[in-house]
Symmetry: C2
Subunit: 433 residues, 2 copies
């Protein structure tokens, strides 16, 4: 196990006042052993390598808690359309033609983009999740994987079995870098009976649930027409809550819904850019946080965003809430917490999301020696409101450097981009004659 | 005069269908002579240099039609505060301590950021505009400069005289790269009489007006209490409209206001991120454009944004309007037009904003050989919804290369950043003890 010392500014995300302007982090193998001002590493810590980055800030890797990685293949394929034609005529026919290999390469493309933009961990929901798992193992990032389950379709049972197999095969793989959840798609695409069956398997296997909830007003109406309740009330009645649940979107909630989410410790993944682009609405994030609900950030898929840049997502999250509430809503440090500490809590990862002794060495450095980062009044405000994807210089996951000087070390980026291009165009050509 | 041929993808912004996937642009001195597919340059065009960038897209330089450049010195100095304490306790005391030299260096910092992020032209409003002019001349960009005028303050007359002097000194300077307008701040900070005096001088000198209009509900109330009208009605009654006017913000408008703006051919500068961050509201951009009003984009100052990245601003503009109207609102190509063609129209610049023979060679290239730009289904969607500041590789203004391979050639970036850092911290220290 090699020992590394990083000398840089350090924003460990262990509290709003904690910042080391000339800091250092000691790393032994996959774990952080010390965090503090320069010279704070234990005397007996003799690094094999010292990384001097005095103009970079080290922070925890960002955590994307709701995405469909392979959908990068649909990036900029269909935009500016009404929701139903977009889904019916564009997204679903395209996805229907995606092979297992396409999903591998689409996910790899997403992972290239995530590494470049500082995302060390994702919560993914898609099909052919073995391919996703293999792509993540290759890339070296951390991921929580959920097989998307459309219970109302013809493949509901098969997909559920794949979800069960996924747990058996990949739970804890990659020295713990992979974790598995079940991914029942939404209350309007899965029957109550199916959702209860999924929940029973999840409980039996000791894994959590990742589900879309209350994303659009159409969904609210559909569930109300069918069950006479809100989606959140319906899911509670079914007994889906109570264990580990990540509910994506949660745009349209009643006061009672928020109480239910709080009481059941449901974690909410906020997707501000997707919610804007698809005209879904603005989620009541300030109210959810005031109730003590863990709220984290997600990009959703690249077809409704169209990138996977969590720096942009932080800015959109804060600005969106400021527009909705007032200019003091969701301040810089809090939105940084959502993308790091809260992301880890949301995924049940107890030793990532902060830089602290004993935590996994999942971290990034952001190159602050650029005009847009001067003057340096507030590093949290710079990271939340100024930074963008291209500012990330280095990434480490589980103590292993995945990107250095903006160059990805674990993936052949050129090949990934070319494969993605060829495969996406093949599908589009098959569909459009 | 040297001749340059750029071979790259070309998005000339001359129409939604015009795109050359293997294109070329011929440039002779400060002007574009040809735009088309490879091989389309005239036979007698013998370039002194050929720039081969097959994985870049060339597009017109972006145009920021509302900013206060020197306010980069306040970047991340004060965030997440209510509007009045933010202004009274933070922004205004800081600005009060800024010297002419501080304004020079703050503007230079803004120009470094603008060049890096693809902005070739800005419409600026501030004080000590001679300093701003000198900074722009040094940087090599294009700018329209307006001396900000607070008519109700003790310096209203002096500022107006400075505005007049600015026209005399800098109108057409830098081989036409500089243009001047008057900058009466807003209807609530200038009396009717003062605004009419400004307008008379503007007409006499043949220059336009740049003014904040209907930015907040507080302003609407203030003007209504004082004059019994909306700000737009009041400005029309004063006779401020009719010539060349750029009205920044225009968040809160009545139907009648929109008719007045359309009838008077007032141009509107939309600032989506500042409007979100300061909780101002969402401007009715779709309705304004439907009325044929020219709407362009601005970042506002770095204290309410906190960057000057027009790529981010395009995404925010489109997503914000989609959220407000529906998912088809403000499609990718239209928001690109706002940042280019419409920006030029707004500033009365007849030969920039598009890539066409006879137009000024104001252009940028965007490096599309990165994971987040694959697959390449729609270049406009990539530029509007995916791209960020760091993706710009090259910039040319007036036929002169200002940045190549992401390196700025006209400014000493290191010195600018250090000067900005020292000066901003000096002011903050003086204020905060």
């Amino acid at each position: 196990m090699s020992k590394l010392l990083i000398r840089a500014m350090v924003l460990p995300m262990t509290g709003p006042e904690v910042f080391y302007s000339r800091g250092e982090i000691g790393i032994d193998g996959d774990r952080i052993v010390s965090v503090g001002e320069e010279g704070s590493a234990p005397e007996n810590f003799v690094p094999d390598r010292v990384l001097n980055l005095p103009n970079d800030v080290v922070m925890p890797g960002l955590i994307n808690t709701h995405t469909h990685a392979a959908m990068t293949l649909l990036r900029s394929y269909a935009d500016d359309l009404p929701l139903m034609p977009w889904l019916n005529e564009k997204v679903w026919p395209f996805e229907d033609k995606m092979t297992e290999e396409d999903i591998y390469w689409g996910t790899s493309l997403a992972l290239c983009e995530m590494i470049r933009s500082g995302t060390t961990t994702m919560l993914d929901m898609y099909a052919s999740m073995d391919q996703v798992a293999e792509a993540v193992l290759q890339a070296g990032t951390r991921a929580v994987l959920s097989r998307g389950l459309i219970g109302n379709g013809p493949n509901g049972e098969r997909a559920l079995q794949e979800g069960i197999d996924l747990v058996r095969r990949y739970q804890g793989a990659g020295q713990g870098r992979l974790k598995v959840m079940f991914g029942p798609h939404a209350p309007y695409t899965c029957s109550g009976e199916y959702l209860q069956k999924v929940k029973a398997h999840a409980d039996r296997l000791g894994v959590g649930i990742h589900i879309h909830v209350a994303e659009t007003l159409d969904e609210i109406k559909m569930i109300h027409d069918q069950y006479g309740k809100t989606p959140v009330e319906w899911l509670e009645e079914l007994g889906l809550f109570g264990g580990h649940v990540v509910a994506a979107h949660c745009v349209h909630l009643t006061r009672k819904d928020m109480d239910i989410l709080a009481r059941n410790k449901v974690c909410v993944a906020y997707n501000p850019e997707s919610n804007m682009k698809l005209n879904s609405g603005t989620a009541p994030i300030t109210e959810l946080r005031a109730q003590g609900i863990v709220v984290s950030l997600g990009t959703d898929g690249a077809s409704s965003n169209n990138n996977l840049d969590l720096f942009g997502e932080m800015r959109s999250a804060a600005f969106q809430q400021k527009l909705r509430v007032n200019s003091t809503a969701l301040p810089a440090y809090e939105v940084l917490e959502m993308a790091t500490v809260n992301g880890a809590q949301s995924l049940g990862l107890e030793d990532v999301g902060m830089l602290a002794p004993g935590f996994k060495a999942d971290l990034i450095t952001v190159d602050l020696d650029q005009p847009h980062f001067y003057p340096r009044f507030s590093i949290p405000a710079h990271l939340a409101y100024v930074a963008h994807a291209g500012d990330v210089r280095m990434m480490m996951v589980d103590g292993k450097i995945l990107m250095e000087d903006r160059k990805i070390l674990t993936l052949d980026v050129h090949k990934v981009c070319q494969e993605a291009e060829i495969r996406a165009k093949r599908i589009a050509n098959a569909l459009n004659g």
